[in-house]
């Protein structure tokens, strides 16, 4: 470790590793730190990604693709099934990853591009120079080091502190987080589709999922909206779900985690600092998917860093380009998702069933989510009135 870099990236998840790789490829001197001793472990993810969104960044590799799915199935509270497959549906599903391997591969790619990587190294605070962010304090093996940098990237996930230290309040309110538990279930055949179980029956303000993970196993989990968690907890709902639907299943791994479902936040840059991925609350508020959004944001942030260095300007004026870029791309999708989510939250299980039944006789199998919603809105104008301007 040196005492100065051009860029210090905090957190080696998908967001941090892609940012570090992009910066290093652009000739910048990069340090990527991760507080855990093993990158990607323990996992906090259901590991589902869309094919197209993934392939933009990296070619699929059997080392970290656990399973390939044919599409997704949405299950209404009364058991009505809506099947979505084909190319269009692949925007949202496609692969189940093995993130323990995937995350490490992404960090290795950053390393091979020239970034220095340090694990078991935790950021404990920011350095400042004339009020602006000028590096970090980090603890490695019990010793605190000061590391100067032109710019600090906060890629520190759901528990992010970098933003708060830099004066950007990213604290999640209870209704802005899904509290999740997932079991890797063995000894059952999940089929070839990713499944989403909607309704209060399965989870208040969230959903249950079954993502095939290959070799007669699947990630089976439940997320509960934080504001509805407390008396009811994700872990007890999940145990009940498995007893009911997969009694023969055997639990071979437990995953616990929180997903930000805030929607686009107001501020993600300040002088000498940018936030990416879950730290910037960039996961999709409807699906909770955040891997490819984090990668997209990392790429955009890296490219803006390179430009900032050319200009010699790491102030907000220069970094704002990143903020504009992510807002006009992934941010737009997130806003739509947030509106759909807010509407779904208001629907009763009976109304959800009604929506599912309205698709009787419609071939939705080749539609993507946006198109499916358009059809739903047409058929249920009163129920979905609030969404009419979103999907045309």
């Amino acid at each position: 470790m040196k005492s100065r870099y051009d860029v210090v990236v905090v957190g080696a998840g998908p967001a941090g590793s892609i940012t570090a790789q992009t910066c290093a490829e652009g000739g910048m001197d990069v340090l990527l730190i991760e507080k855990r001793q093993e990158i990607g472990d323990p996992v906090r993810c259901a590991e589902g990604v869309g094919k197209d969104a993934l392939i933009k960044h990296i070619q699929p590799d059997t080392r970290w693709i656990a399973a390939e799915v044919k599409g997704s199935r949405i299950i209404a509270p009364d058991g009505t099934r809506i099947l979505m497959s084909g190319d269009a549906a692949m925007k949202d599903v496609g692969y189940t990853l093995e993130r323990k391997v995937f995350d490490r591969v992404l960090a290795q790619r950053a390393a091979m591009a020239g970034a220095e990587v340090m694990v078991k190294t935790r950021a404990t605070g920011l350095l400042r120079n004339n009020g602006r962010v000028a590096g970090i304090k980090a603890m490695y093996m019990g010793d605190v080091h000061e590391i100067k940098a032109d710019i600090v990237i906060g890629a520190d996930g759901v528990e992010s502190k970098i933003g708060r230290w830099g004066g950007i309040d990213t604290t999640l309110k209870p209704h802005e987080i899904e509290a999740c538990v997932q079991f890797l279930i063995s000894n059952f055949d999940p089929g070839e589709y990713s499944e989403f179980y909607l309704g209060e029956k399965y989870s208040p303000g969230g959903y249950a999922w079954i993502f095939p993970k290959g070799g007669r196993s699947a990630n089976v989990g439940i997320g509960v909206l934080g504001s509805k968690s407390g008396n009811i907890r994700a872990i007890s709902l999940l145990s009940k779900f498995i007893e009911t639907y997969i009694p023969q299943g055997r639990i071979v791994e437990i995953v616990v985690g929180g997903v930000p479902v805030t929607g686009p936040i107001k501020q993600t840059v300040t002088d000498g600092l940018m936030l990416v991925g879950d730290a910037a609350r960039q996961s999709d508020p409807l699906t909770g998917g955040g891997i490819t959004n984090a990668m997209d944001a990392g790429k955009m942030a890296g490219e803006v860093c390179i430009k900032a260095r050319e200009k010699g300007d790491f102030s907000v004026r220069s970094l704002k380009e990143y903020e504009d870029k992510w807002r006009s791309t992934i941010g737009k999708e997130m806003s739509k998702s947030l509106q759909v989510k807010n509407l779904l939250l208001k629907l009763t299980d009976e109304q959800l069933n009604q929506l599912a039944h309205s698709l009787d006789g419609v071939d939705v199998s080749k539609m993507e989510l946006g198109k499916l919603l358009t059809v739903l809105i047409k058929k249920n104008p009163r129920l979905l009135w609030g969404l009419r301007t979103l999907f045309k």
């Binding site: 507080k35 855990r36 935790r122 990213t170 604290t171 999640l172 209870p174 907890r233 994700a234 995953v255």
Partner: protein
Amino acid sequence: MSVNVNRYKCGYCGACVGVCPVGALELVETWLEIENTCTSCGICAKICPVGALLVVK
């Protein structure tokens, strides 16, 4: 004022860290550190997916 962590239950996921309004929690590998700035507001205990936190007034 503080919270108690049941270390035998906690899945060290960091969700509680993200919701604490005063930044009193910190996840270090597999354990939570709790600073004395905790106001016992109870938000972390509410959202913990496995119920590993207990507020002490």
